[in-house]
């Protein structure tokens, strides 16, 4: 196989942009790098791709390692491979973004890994090209969110319409008219009103809704 051996191999890693939604803000999970080069700098969480491991599998493993969660919504952002992006060695990194409900993420495990939720609008400078990765992930996620019902992955199973609206506002970065928003929601049969009432955010209480995946699959027309 001289065909392959005429060329050199490189390290390939995966970096994950984990989005969460809390208190009306879109957040990203970042931590202080615990190894050289770049020790102490803010950074995404990542890991190296093993020879016998697919890149998507690697991203899932990395995500599981960090959060203890599986079957999260995850998409590839793209490959980042400038020659000097990593100050130590030549490493090509493939970025993925994932959506999680912050309440599913065990606080203790989070502390163990030394990662924190940081508001997307006040991100510090990150290690290497990680800011670029986050920005591209955000662009892709925003786009996806307009045409696919993925936002629910950032919310608890039961949510109020105000929560859902705040989520869409946080992601798109602009205010939405309450009545127009609710009108559109009413047209989507897969966003089901339950009998349950949430009283944590108002005295009157707000109806709790749920995303019904089955109903969505039968008639997948989502538009926001």
């Amino acid at each position: 196989m001289t065909y392959y051996n005429d060329h050199k191999k490189v390290w390939v890693s995966v970096d994950v942009i984990i989005f969460g939604f809390d208190k009306g803000k879109l957040k990203v999970l970042i931590g202080r790098r615990q190894m050289d080069p770049g020790r102490g700098e803010w950074s995404l969480y990542g890991g190296f791709v093993a020879v016998d491991e697919g890149i998507d599998d690697c991203a899932e493993r990395t995500l599981y390692e960090l959060t203890g969660l599986k079957n999260l919504y995850m998409k590839q952002v793209g490959a980042f491979g400038s020659v000097n992006r990593d100050p130590g060695e030549r490493v090509i990194s493939i970025a993925y973004y994932a959506l999680i409900n912050v309440k599913d993420y065990d606080e203790e495990l989070r502390n163990e890994h030394g990662v924190e939720w940081v508001d997307i609008n006040s991100m510090p400078a990150l290690y290497s090209d990680h800011n670029e990765m986050v920005m591209k992930a955000l662009r892709l996620m925003r786009q996806k969110m307009k045409t696919e019902p993925i936002g629910f992955r950032l919310l608890p199973q039961l949510f109020t319409l105000t929560q859902l609206q705040r989520l869409y506002e946080a992601v798109s970065g602009q205010e939405i008219d309450k009545r127009n928003f609710r009108k559109r929601i009413k047209e989507m049969d897969f966003i089901e009103k339950t009998e349950l009432i949430d009283k944590t955010s108002s005295k009157r209480g707000a109806a709790l809704y749920r995303f019904n995946k089955k109903v969505y699959n039968e008639d997948p027309n989502f538009k926001l």
Copy 2:
């Protein structure tokens, strides 16, 4: 640097999906593989990423090697990295798509490389996961084409409105109403009518238009 050395390196390659537009059809450039594994199968053109070469640079180099052209419109499609995608060894490949005007591509050079323009709607089975790459590239290109004036990269500098319409029809895969199309074009000041007339496609002759990048940059509102 034991941190890196705890992990194995892999080969990384680049594969390019080159789109062209000819005789009303959207085409892709593919050729017969000239090496093992997969010798003789239809395949995208590609190359390995060198250790001292950025991945975008590698894609540009590969594109130049094949076409002799530089400064083409090019975007990354994403990384493909299933463990067994390459039947020979573990290779992660990063796909890019590029747009060229078929008339800029020297026929002789094309023959030397043994590549051909194939209609996107009658693509044969390709080597490895190359069909997947083409489909993803097409999706991305379609999307981009709706919001950015990149279609002109597939046409000669001077083109008729019918040509432009056929291009958009070929890319989107659906017919467009002629009057509505021309109405929208008229609103975009950066698509300039010239004094020139093309008589090759009709007896009456059709006005030739040109994309003015400067005007576009001053007021970039493209929508088709």
